[in-house]
Every structure is written in C-alpha cells, then in structure tokens.
Amino acid sequence: MSNVANASTVTTVAAPKPQLVIDKVFKRFGDGPGAVVAVDQVSFDVRPGEFVAVIGPSGCGKSTLFNIIGGLLDDYSGDVLCEGDRVAGPHPAIGMVFQEESTFPWRNVLDNVAFPLELRGVGKAERLERAHHFIDLVGLGGFEKRMPSELSGGMRQRVSIARTLVSQPHILLMDEPFAALDEQTRLLLGDKITQIQQDLKQTTLLITHNLTEAVQLSDRIVVMTYRPGRVKRTVSIDLPRPRTSDVVSSAAFGKYVAEIWADLREEASRGMADAEGRTRGAAPRG
C-alpha cells in the first residue's frame, strides 16, 4: 500500500525536477554545553504541484525548518534551493502561512488580502479584482468589508491563506495553519486547502504535528525524529484525488495513520520523557 523509503535513499522515480530542494540542512541554537541542535542533516525535496507534509513531535525542529525554508533564518548550513536559488532570505517564489493568527486587525478582509499587491504597487482596480478572486476561492465571498475581529478563527486563517495566495507564489509554505482550530473546522478547512491545491496545481509544503491532517492533504509525508530533528522516513500517500475529508473514514486512511503513528509514537514518547526530565530538574526540592 504505502511506498516507504529510507531517509538516506535518493528518490529515483522519473519525476519533474524538484521545485524545492532541502539538502543536508543543519541548524544549531547557542554554543557550548547548552547548545541545541534543532535540525540535523535534513534532506528532502518537493516537486511541482506536489503536496508534501513534514510531520514530527513538538521539539523536532519543524518550525525552525519552516523559518529556514521561508528565509526568516539564514544562518544555517546545508542548502535550501528554491527553483535553483539558494534561500538566504525571503524568496519571492515562496508564500508563507503562519501558525499564529496573522491578519492585520486594522484592515478589513479585502484590504488584508490585497496587502501584498499594494506593496508591489499594483493598481487599485487590479489588486481589488485579484483580492476578490482569492477571497472567493477560500470561500469568504460576502465578507470583504468585515474586520478580522468579526470573523471566527477559521475564517481569519482563510484570510491569511488568501493573502498569501494573492501573490501567486510558486510554493505555498504553511506552518501548522490549523493548529488553533477545532477538529471539525480543521477537516473542513482541509477540504478547502485540498480543493485550492488541486485547482491551482499549487506546490505546497505543510509543516504539522497533526497526523490526520497530514494524511488527508498530502502526496508525501516526511516523518521527523525528536530532537535533533532528522528525517526518519518518507511515506508516499496513495489515496485517490480529488480528495475530501470523507477520506478519513476509509480503511486505507486508517492504515496510513496507524503506520505513521507507529513511527511518531516512539519520537513523541522521547519528547515527552525529555520534557518530564527537564521539568523534574527544574522543580524546587522540597
């Protein structure tokens, strides 16, 4: 059923040239005995139109990887190549969606979504037209004049996604965009993301710790180890497309979840034990 490859194995499947290459990326925070290696020799790639998820327990360096790929952290070793360019700062081909709610509270939905075009000096008529298009695409038509404070968490996150998509990035990079949402909203937004990704043939890299979300949305899943974050294995998800949230009730879906969880459980347990150890060490002695 699944096509599981070892981390060290180079994929040789006849496929288009990767759009995003992460090659032996290494990042350490601090020096000396207190130094923490966040990601260690991480390598994988994303091909055009592909949806890849990076999954791992808390503390596996997912967000560090997100920041490196997005160009927000540039002092790393190894290479992140976006369409052949080494990423050393935000790359115009990469659009980022953040985990935290990131709409501008002082702008209405339309102005939020049109913001990147405003920065580029796109004329008002054109930018509003394009903003309207992407607002409709994320299913927020009719809410253009609403302020973010009048929207639910899921709607605000859709505004952020529309704001990123309006720049028509070649690669959509998302860091746990649904982390703050309830499970039902998460599944429904997953449908919306799948539909957009399929409609736009959007190359997407999703960073997540949510197993069902990763399997529901992805073509491939990169499983990370707990600290230091390394690629444990890559799993190809061979579920039919177009896909909807109904897929979560299928037997194949359940098998993928169980299979990946078997790997993740070990890493999550290490993470939990580490956190407990640190808490014990920090606790006052009574």
Partner: protein, 257 residues
C-alpha cells in the same frame, strides 16, 4: 430560568446608581453642614455651590476663560504627540537607548513637576508659554511610555509576515508597526491629555494667569467659598466631559477594536 437583562437595566442602572451616589454624598454633606457638624466657614453648603454655578458662568466670563484653557490644553496636547510619539518610536527602535532612558521617563511621570514652576516662570515669564511648556513636560511621559509599549507589543508573527513579503524598513514601520501600535498610542494620548488638562488648570491656578485655574484662584482670594467650589465643580465637569470625549474619539477612530 434567568432572563436577559434589558438594555435599560444594563446601561441605565449604573448611570442612575452613579448619579444617586453623588446626590447622596452632597445631600449628606448638606445635612452635616446644616446640623453644624462640619464648619460652614470651611465648606460651603452644596446648595449654595449649585446656586453659584450660574453666577460664575455669567459674571466671571467662564466661556472666555474656558477658551483660554482649551487653547493651552490643545497646544500642549498636540506638542506631547508631536514630541512624544517620535521619542517613543526611537526608544523602541534603539534598544540601548530604551534601556538607558525608559526608567528616567517613568520617573518623569511620577515627579511632581508642578513644583518646578518658579524655574519656568524665570525662563518664560508669567505667560501661556510657561503653562504650555510645563504641561507638555507633564504629559510627555505617558505619551512616550505608551508609544514604546505599543511598538514592543507588536505581535512577532505580523513582523514575520512583513519579512516574508520582503518589506522595506519604512514599509514595515508605516504599514505594520505603526498601525499595530496605534491602540496603545491612543491610550497614551488619552492619558497624556488628561495629565495636560490637570497641569494646565493647576499651573493657571499657581501663577494666577489665564483660564479656569485663575478663576478658582481669583474666587478663593475673594474668599467667595461657594463661587470657588462652584468653579472647582465646573472644572471637574469639564474634565469628565473631556475624558469621555477622548474615550469616544478613541473608539470611533479604531472601529476594529
């Protein structure tokens, strides 16, 4: 089963209780004065104070004095914004400067600057300039501190959005940092203008010049106790209206909050 309170109850009741409390306190004071428990040569009858309100408005030219006080308040307030916001932004931008100066600015907010009025009289003479300069200094500290706080409180994710869009420093400031800091800058404006109003009236009283503060001083020197207290009540009323107006303005200017 509990029923939802009507708008009249939720909005009207607190106002009614507040008004009743004020009337109750004045009623009690009136009774204590009439019974001789409190000396009438020190505290006038609230009813006399109430009757004097009309007299001071008509005979003491209160509206012209109010205009003078308003001019000094607006000038001082505008200067606190013009000077305070850039200083607050600079303290945010240069962290060593913030570390060096933030405590001093906070100390400035706590200092009884009004006591330095002789120094300012020497520098600027007995004029509106003295009132304005002293009031600007009084209102500056909350303006600076709240502005810095506003910039510091900008959510890192919004800054990351700006970075991901490759915004220039100037775009980052005007399109993200400044709008994000605006709510606290408005709080700073409200606080500093309130400080400014208190300072203007206080200094007018001290140097016996200009608007409402001087009126209180004049009436006190004439030993017109009901008039003095009526003028004080008038200033309190103006302050309340001023404060409420600033709050409304703040809400109106920021419909998203």
């Amino acid at each position: 089963m509990a029923r939802a309170a009507s708008p009249l109850m939720t909005r009207g009741l607190p106002i009614a209780v507040g008004a009743a409390s004020v009337i109750g306190v004045f009623g009690l004071l009136e009774a204590l004065l009439r019974l001789g428990v409190v000396n009438r040569y020190i505290v006038p009858l609230p009813s006399d104070v109430l009757l004097s309100l009309e007299r001071i408005i008509v005979e003491e030219n209160v509206l012209a004095r109010m205009r003078e006080t308003a001019y000094e308040v607006v000038m001082s307030g505008l200067f606190t914004i013009l000077v305070g916001v850039p200083i607050g932004a600079a303290l945010y931008r240069w962290r060593p400067l913030r570390r060096a100066l933030e405590d001093w600015v906070a100390a400035l907010a706590a200092a009884p600057l009004v006591l330095a009025f002789p120094l300012f009289l020497v520098m600027f003479g007995r004029s509106s300039t003295t009132v304005i300069v002293m009031s600007v200094i009084t209102g500056l500290a909350p303006m600076i501190l709240k502005t810095t706080e506003g910039f510091v409180a900008t959510r890192p994710v919004l800054i990351n959005v700006g970075k991901s869009l490759k915004m220039t420093d100037s775009q980052m400031f005007w399109k993200i940092l400044f709008p994000s800091a605006l709510p606290l800058i408005f709080t700073g404006i409200r606080l500093s203008w309130t400080f400014v109003l208190i300072s203007v009236v206080g200094i007018e009283f001290l140097i016996n010049l200009g608007g409402l503060g001087q009126l209180i001083n004049d009436l006190a020197e004439r030993y017109d106790l009901p008039g003095t207290y009526a003028a004080i009540c008038f200033v309190i009323l103006v302050s309340v209206v001023f404060f409420v107006a600033l709050e409304r303005l703040e809400t109106w200017l920021q419909p998203s909050r």
